[in-house]
């Protein structure tokens, strides 16, 4: 609806969506934030007295979404340090470590404790492991000879709400650990987190999904899991009960993250990078300039990209709650963002002008009352205008467009082998390493492997340009279970796991209707489908969700749906496709109940990875928190809104979230709750795989 109602002023939009929300209340995910906060306070309070907190730097972001520094100070945290190699000076007796159970951290802790012992400094150490304690950690502390000095406990940080319909474990390493290292810890942790979720909101009556690791996760969920403390808050009983859990693992759809995200939020992530919902922005964008009517300083366009690094930056929390304009923009294709911004600007202008028309005192007071809102909206507008001005030059660079072109050609299987040459060209032009890897992998997946000679040539170019130390990266990409960079034909010695993990792309493209005809004029049409997020390409992952939850959306372009949902206010020129549903949102169809993969068994069969559909008797025995077991509602199922939890094992992209929100808007009676191990982009994936232990050489390379 946000997409379609292009001319609707955002305030109107809010009211309509407000009504919408009233009817279709999703699950209250704030409970999770509250309970995470409480658990942290409890953990801190369990150590009596003033304490020095030593924090795992990767946890700072997630914790920032849960609490603020003031709260920590309030609970006895005297000073805070990053958990980094080197000695630790603490003025308090209590030293509290808070970290994920990684070996490297444990070693740092052991070193610091040994340092203190050597300097005969007396401290008491408490180690909180996130999300749970680990035998491994105690064993290593034992090996280091400091186990006796540390009391080990856990801080069970699980799902954190990052938007009203997105909850995330905010664990960045998930993809790499699963598909490169083969460390399946995150599957188990996810199972525990999903288990807590069902204890709060009620059992998943059905678990459907796709992918080998996804299947492992589903199996874990059907087995008894250890009891965990569950937040005692009970959700409002009226909120939508969960009707099913859809689990997709990242391997099922490797194409999506490899493509360049083209939604506003996705592009911010691609260009600037979003970490834990925060983005680093130049100070000048965040502080209001002296003269309010003067547009944001026009950063000289050609150097904008460097100015992000050059200028002093500040963290900004991208949140739809505090920034309604962002809620409006985040899921738009970037090409429509400018239009929306100028509409907002016009509207603001109109409203400011109302001042001149204000004649009576009452009218004036009215205006003054609105002023605060206007000003904050104005500030938001300025920020997002500035932000898109940073993005815009980037989208005009040669390399960006070349990369888009290669992507589109590969997706359409157009002159496939020429694309590999084009990629080599980009190497020569000095494109960054992640972009190249993404393109090579994309080529391999869509073409079913790259011809051996071409592959050797492009790999050689790659290694010569970016360094031989990236050879392990290429090996990781080409070996199971990842296998997304393969020669064609496969060498005879290849194991069968690799052969079966190949995606029959052209078949899938047809059966899942992945590619929508794309020309710039048809963009509005493209917005009739989830494919708007990649300007004409629909993510497989979201298509799969549609296979389970919106079956007609997969088969045909639901233009009629479009007309029904755009509302009467739409100025976009597609209202001519009129059905009887020109009308309001109220006529939106009810979502069909989830019946597994019915109707799409064949497609699912051609995709690599296990397919599963586990209906569960609502229950019964144990597990569910007696306080929150949901009594089967007397209301007929299709009249009650239910929630479908979609869990991405290994992370999801902002575009997938945007696409799912689009699907969400097509029907009444179903809300998606998007759960993920973390938000990823293609670059963050490649970085996480490549980043293993190359620190020394990377720093050398910075001179480039």
């Amino acid at each position: 609806m946000i997409m379609a109602a292009t001319s609707t002023p955002s305030s109107d939009l809010q009211t309509t969506s407000g009504v919408d929300r009233e009817i279709e209340q999703g699950l209250d995910v704030e409970i999770l934030r509250e309970s995470a906060k409480k658990a942290l306070i409890n953990a801190l309070n369990s150590v009596v007295g003033a304490k020095t907190l030593v924090l795992d730097p990767t946890l700072a972001g997630p914790l920032g979404l849960v609490t603020e520094v003031a709260l920590l100070k309030h609970h006895g945290v005297d000073k805070m340090f990053w958990l980094e190699p080197g000695p630790l000076t603490s003025t308090t007796t209590n030293v509290v470590y808070l970290c994920r159970p990684l070996i490297k951290y444990v070693k740092i802790i052991a070193d610091q404790i040994k340092g203190h012992t050597k300097g005969s400094l007396k401290h008491t150490y408490t180690l909180f492991l996130v999300p749970r304690t680990s035998t491994l950690v105690s064993r290593i502390l034992e090996e280091e000879g400091v186990l006796g000095d540390v009391s080990i406990s856990s801080y069970n940080l699980q799902f954190i709400p990052t938007a009203e319909d997105v909850i995330s474990l905010e664990y960045d390493g998930a993809f790499k650990e699963l598909w490169v290292d083969g460390d399946e810890t995150i599957i188990y942790d996810s199972a525990l987190a999903l288990d807590v979720l069902q204890k709060i909101y009620g059992q998943y009556p059905r678990i459907v999904g796709k992918g080998d690791y996804a299947s492992k996760l589903a199996t874990l969920l059907t087995k008894p899991l250890p009891n965990q403390p569950v937040p005692v808050v009970s959700p409002t009983p009226s909120s939508a009960p969960i009707d099913s859990l859809i689990i997709l693992d990242r391997r099922v759809d490797m194409i999506t993250p490899l493509l360049t995200q083209l939604t506003y939020e996705g592009l911010i992530d691609e260009v600037i990078g979003i970490k834990n919902s925060h983005v680093e922005l130049p100070m000048s964008l965040l502080n209001p300039p002296p003269a309010p009517n003067q547009g944001p300083s026009q950063a000289s366009t050609s150097t904008a990209a460097t100015s992000i690094i050059g200028e002093k930056t500040k963290k900004y929390h991208l949140s739809a709650v505090t920034d309604p304009l962002f809620a409006d923009l985040r899921d738009l294709n970037f090409s429509s963002v400018g239009k929306r911004l100028s509409q907002t600007a016009h509207r603001l202008d109109e409203e400011y002008k109302a001042r001149q028309q204000a004649k009576t005192v009452a009218q004036l007071r009215d205006f003054v009352g609105k002023l605060g809102g206007l000003q904050s909206e104005h500030q938001a507008l300025r920020l997002h205008t500035g932000l898109s001005e940073i993005l815009l030059p980037h989208t005009r660079t040669d390399l960006f467009n070349k990369s888009l072109e290669i992507q589109q050609n590969l997706l359409a299987s157009y002159e496939a082998s020429a694309q590999v040459t084009a990629i080599e060209e980009m190497v020569a032009q000095g494109a960054d390493m992640q972009t190249i890897v993404r393109l090579i992998c994309l080529a391999s997946i869509t073409m079913g492997g790259i011809k051996t000679r071409a592959l050797d040539s492009v790999r050689r170019e790659f290694l010569q340009a970016y360094g031989y130390h990236l050879l392990p990266l290429l090996l990781s990409l080409s070996s199971p279970p990842l296998s997304i960079l393969l020669p064609n034909p496969l060498p005879p010695s290849t194991s069968s796991t690799v052969t079966t993990s190949k995606l029959p792309f052209s078949t899938v493209r047809k059966s899942l209707r992945l590619l929508i005809d794309d020309n710039p004029e048809a963009l509005e049409e493209v917005e009739n489908d989830i494919s708007f997020v990649y300007s004409g390409y629909a993510p497989i992952s979201v298509r799969l969700v549609q296979c389970a939850a919106q079956k007609n959306g997969v088969i045909s372009n639901p233009v009629v749906d479009k007309a029904t949902n755009s509302g009467g206010t739409s100025s976009a020129d597609h209202g001519d496709v009129v059905g009887e549903g020109t009308s309001m949102d109220a006529k939106k169809l009810y979502a069909h109940p989830i019946v597994g993969w019915k109707g799409f068994e064949d497609v699912l069969g051609t995709l690599p990875g296990k397919t599963f559909d586990i209906p569960r008797s609502v229950n019964a025995t144990t597990g569910t928190n007696p306080g929150t077991t949901l009594v089967p509602s007397p209301i007929r199922p299709h009249e009650q809104t239910s929630t479908t939890v979609v869990f991405f094992l290994g992370g999801c992209t902002y575009t997938e979230i945007a696409a799912l929100r689009w699907v969400n808007r097509q029907h009444r009676g179903r809300k998606f709750l998007i759960a993920t191990t973390g938000i990823i982009s293609g670059s963050s994936l490649i970085k996480s795989i490549a980043g293993d232990g190359k620190v020394g050489q990377d720093s050398l390379r910075d001179s480039r």
Binding site: I103, K104, K107, R132, T133, S134, T135, L136, R139, I140, E143, D181, G182, D183, E184, T185, I187, Y188, K216, T219, L220, K223, P224, P226, S302, D398, E424, E425, V427, A428, Q429, G430, D456, R459, R460, E461, L463, Q464, A465, Y466, G467, Y468, H469, L471, P472, L475, S479, P491, S493, T621, T622, D692, G693, K694, G696, Q697, L700, R701, S703, R704
Partner: protein, 841 residues
């Protein structure tokens, strides 16, 4: 039937003052079931628990009188109904004391400080007070429900808390020179301080000792030969050598009653001073029990032979040769209903109901008269039902309550239902074969779960299970105990079938009653402990939680199975647990073999091991890869190590090692070749660093970066060398050099480079790169070399509007010129463009 059951009041006796009633309920008739208590030391368990008997070594016994069963080293346990529960031999030195714990285990302490806790099956746990206590010897002890205090040979007091075998705590030194005349302990849970308090009768006074201090109470009425604290720990009954019974508060501030026992008994020695509830004291002699009320009034109860009294919270249990009695103050509600001449609403309600059953109209009249108090009367009747021993009267009282409540508009029947349930349970356990005369009040205090565990301890599994089901309590404790007993009792026949049969039996039973909540691992551990490994494995298969299975499997040395189960559980921490355990206990070869032989099913474990080893134990990882012929992984590991090294020669060696590993795998030609290139590059870079001016860094750069660094350091011909050595394509080379030269702002060299040959990457990129780097003027020089149609735009890019205009003019593009005019930044240029346009005409 009615005639058989006596009216409740027949057991009542009024104190001489006529206001307070006590009753003696005969619980069981036990004539001939237990030996003569005179010859024994007896310890009774509270809450209707059993009594333990041990031959009193200080008394002479005529041989043959008590039969062979009562030889000295035996301890016998009887239920209050006189049923023998347990008989076991003691072979551990002289017993100084025995007593009962809260969970009905018999604690037996010997003079060496060793103590055992026997359950009712004769299984025991043994603990010791430590070597010091053993040397000093233990001369006496006082055992309470949650621990005991022992008096050592050196007259120090040692406290043991709980029954977990914890280390004894030495209490404050009382400074005794000889053992006390008598002593007692007030358990921690009945003290304000929540610490154990010991009362010692020394000389004429009492010394109170806790863990911090010992205080003389400076009392001169001693010496006391009996010290007995009340069940709630507030009052103390002291008996001095002159036979004076003195009741005093435990802080010795309030004296409550005094009574001369000498006159009451004719001078024979008192055998016991026990409390009856919290308000009366029972003093016993042979043949006689004397109840001393709060005001010093007494009631006499006659018995045959020796008498043993066991204090309860709501009375005192008296066991003699023939009977087991409960003496207690008549509870208020019972008194209210049954007291002769009572006019309380409850009594009237009860009468009304009796009239009603006799179809007498008086019933209605009575009910009317108590209308305002009816609810209270109903409650009182329900309460009174709980205080009755005979089901007959319980039923009558409940019926009366029900009758009364039918006249009430609103009444919450929960109490009624609960009482009905409780009484059914109590009557079941009162049955003499069970022999547990627990009262309603005791049941309330101890909780139903406690009752069930006591039944379980007696192997009354069926009853316990039924009661669990009746009260909707979890049955897993009972089932677990049942299964352990079943396993312990079954003959360890070396038959797989037997195991299978037994396992099936247990699983069936659990499936039927357990609600899937039974922990099979505990039972399996039990089976393992009694040497039934096969059975243990079978049982363990039914355990759904791997975290329960795995530790036992490791103890059973089922390494492979443990690892498999851990992997199946998906809990990586559990996998680590097993891996680290095995790594410690197996030889490295066996350890690797175990994992490698596991194949696909153990692959996750193998990968976890690699993750761990990569961080913590590289040496092991190298061995692991080597032993498994994993060339590629070995190579990657070598590269990883290279990336962390600082010494250049070592890096090159490592890279060469990686190359060698790759070359051993025929599918890794490409990788081997790349590593060969890598090693060569590193050598070239070493040389470059030597030759380069200043401290230019080359080592570790990529090929492209090396070329760039050469250009930047003015070593252009070396850049060419690298290009040809590593077969760098022209295009890439040109891009690199172009960027390097722009960065250096060496525009002359750039010009020379551009002219050196026809650019394989065109010249547009020259223009664009220069503009991007902020050199539009230099950029404009290259526009001429670009394709003609592109030039206008490129000039605009260089901000050279005039040149753009001229270009339009040359190509005769009027339209283009118009457009330029519209886009150009200032009027000066507009004018010039207009001139150009004009000149075109």
């Amino acid at each position: 039937m009615e005639s058989v059951v006596e009216h409740p009041t027949t057991t009542w006796d009024a104190m001489p003052d006529g206001n307070v009633f006590y009753r003696r309920l005969q619980l069981y008739s036990i004539a001939g079931k237990i030996p003569n208590l005179n010859d024994y030391v007896v310890a009774g368990c509270r809450n209707g628990g059993p009594i333990a008997l041990m031959r009193d070594p200080s008394k002479l016994v005529a041989i043959g009188r008590a039969g062979p069963a009562s030889s000295r080293s035996q301890i016998q346990v009887y239920s209050p109904a006189g049923e023998g529960i347990l008989l076991f031999n003691w072979d551990q030195g002289r017993i100084v004391r025995f007593g009962w714990t809260y969970d009905e285990r018999l604690a037996v302490l010997n003079e060496e400080g060793t103590y055992r806790l026997y359950d009712l099956q004769g299984e025991y746990q043994q603990f010791s007070l430590g070597t010091e206590a053993a040397e000093m010897g233990i001369i006496d002890a006082r055992i309470h429900e949650n621990g005991f205090v022992a008096l050592s040979g050196s007259l120090a007091l040692l406290e043991v808390k709980d029954w977990g075998g914890g280390r004894p705590l030495t209490l404050a030194n009382p400074g005794l020179s000889e053992p006390p005349h008598a002593w007692a302990v007030i358990p921690p849970d009945q003290n304000i301080s929540r610490h154990v308090e010991v009362l010692l009768s020394v000389d004429n006074t009492i010394i109170v000792v806790d863990n911090l201090e010992s205080a003389d109470q400076r009392i001169s009425r001693g010496p006391f030969i009996r010290v007995s604290p009340s069940p709630n720990g507030r009052l103390l009954a002291l008996l001095n050598s002159n036979g004076l019974l003195w009741v005093v508060s435990t802080d010795f501030q309030r004296s409550l009653a005094e009574f001369d026992t000498q006159t009451a008994s004719g001078g024979s020695p008192v055998s016991q001073v026990e409390w009856c509830g919290n308000d009366a004291i029972l003093v016993t002699w042979n043949n006689l029990a004397l109840l001393v009320g709060p005001s010093g009034d007494t009631l006499r109860y006659l018995y045959f032979g020796a008498v043993v009294a066991v204090t309860e919270v709501d009375g005192v249990r008296v066991i003699s040769r023939d009977v087991c009695d409960l003496i207690q103050k008549v509870p208020a509600s019972t008194l209210s209903v049954f007291r002769p001449g009572s006019t309380s609403p409850a009594a009237i309600l009860f009468n009304a109901w009796e009239s009603f059953t006799q179809r007498s109209p008086k019933a209605d009249e009575s009910i009317r008269s108590i209308r305002p108090d009816l609810a209270a009367a109903v409650n009182e009747c329900i309460d009174a039902a709980g205080c009755e021993w005979e089901p007959y009267w319980q039923r009558k009282l409940l019926s009366a309550a029900k009758f009364g409540w039918s006249f009430l508009d609103l009444y919450n029947p929960n109490d009624f239902v609960a009482m009905g349930q409780a009484l059914r349970v109590l009557n079941a356990v009162h049955y003499y074969e069970v022999g547990m005369p627990i009262t309603y009040l005791q049941y309330q205090l101890a909780s139903p779960l406690h009752l069930i565990s006591r039944l379980t301890a007696r192997n009354l599994h069926l009853l316990a299970l039924r009661i669990s089901a009746f009260l909707s309590l979890k049955a897993d404790v009972v089932l677990k105990h049942w299964a352990s007993m079943k396993i312990a009792r079954s003959k360890p026949m070396a038959g797989d079938d037997k195991d299978q049969e037994l396992c099936q039996l247990i699983v069936d039973k659990f499936g039927k009653f357990g609600n899937g909540e039974v922990n099979y691992a505990d039972i399996a551990r039990r089976a393992w402990e009694v040497g039934r490994g096969g059975l243990a494995t079978k049982l363990l298969d039914h355990e759904p939680r791997a975290s329960n299975q795995v530790p036992l499997l490791l103890t059973m040395k089922e390494d492979r199975l443990a690892l498999l189960k851990a992997v199946d559980s998906g809990d990586t921490d559990l996998v680590y647990h097993v891996l680290l355990h095995l790594h410690k206990h197996l030889s490295l070869g066996d350890f690797f073999r175990l994992i490698e032989d596991g194949g696909q099913s153990l692959a996750p474990a193998s990968r976890l091991l690699q993750v761990y080893a990569r961080e913590q134990n590289k040496e092991m990882l190298r061995d692991f890869y080597y032993s498994d012929d994993r060339r590629v992984e070995s190579a990657v590991l070598a590269l990883e190590e290279a990336s962390r090294m600082t010494d250049q020669t070592a890096v090159i060696t490592s890279v060469k090692a990686a190359e060698k590993f790759f070359s051993e795998d025929k599918d890794r030609n490409f990788e081997a070749k790349m590593m060969d290139e890598n090693a060569r590059l590193l050598a070239v870079q070493q040389q470059l660093e030597k030759d380069a001016p200043g401290n230019a860094k080359f080592f570790g750069l990529s090929v492209s970066e090396t070329i760039r660094a050469c250009v930047m350091n003015g070593m252009s011909n070396r850049a060419d060398r690298v290009k040809s050595d590593f077969k760098v394509p022209d295009k890439r080379f040109w891009h690199i050099k172009l960027r390097a030269l722009i960065t250096m702002r060496d525009f002359d060299a750039l010009e020379a480079f551009a002219r050196s040959k026809r650019s394989p990457i065109g010249y547009e990129v020259f223009v664009r790169q220069l503009v991007e780097a902020g050199h539009p003027r230099e950029a404009a020089m290259y526009v001429v070399r670009c394709d003609a149609p592109r030039r206008v735009e490129l000039y605009v890019l260089c901000n050279d509007w005039r040149a753009a205009g001229r270009e339009c003019k040359e190509r005769g593009d009027k339209n283009g010129l118009e457009q330029l005019k519209r886009r150009c930044p200032n009027s000066l240029i507009v004018r010039e463009l207009e001139q150009l346009a004009a000149s075109m005409k």
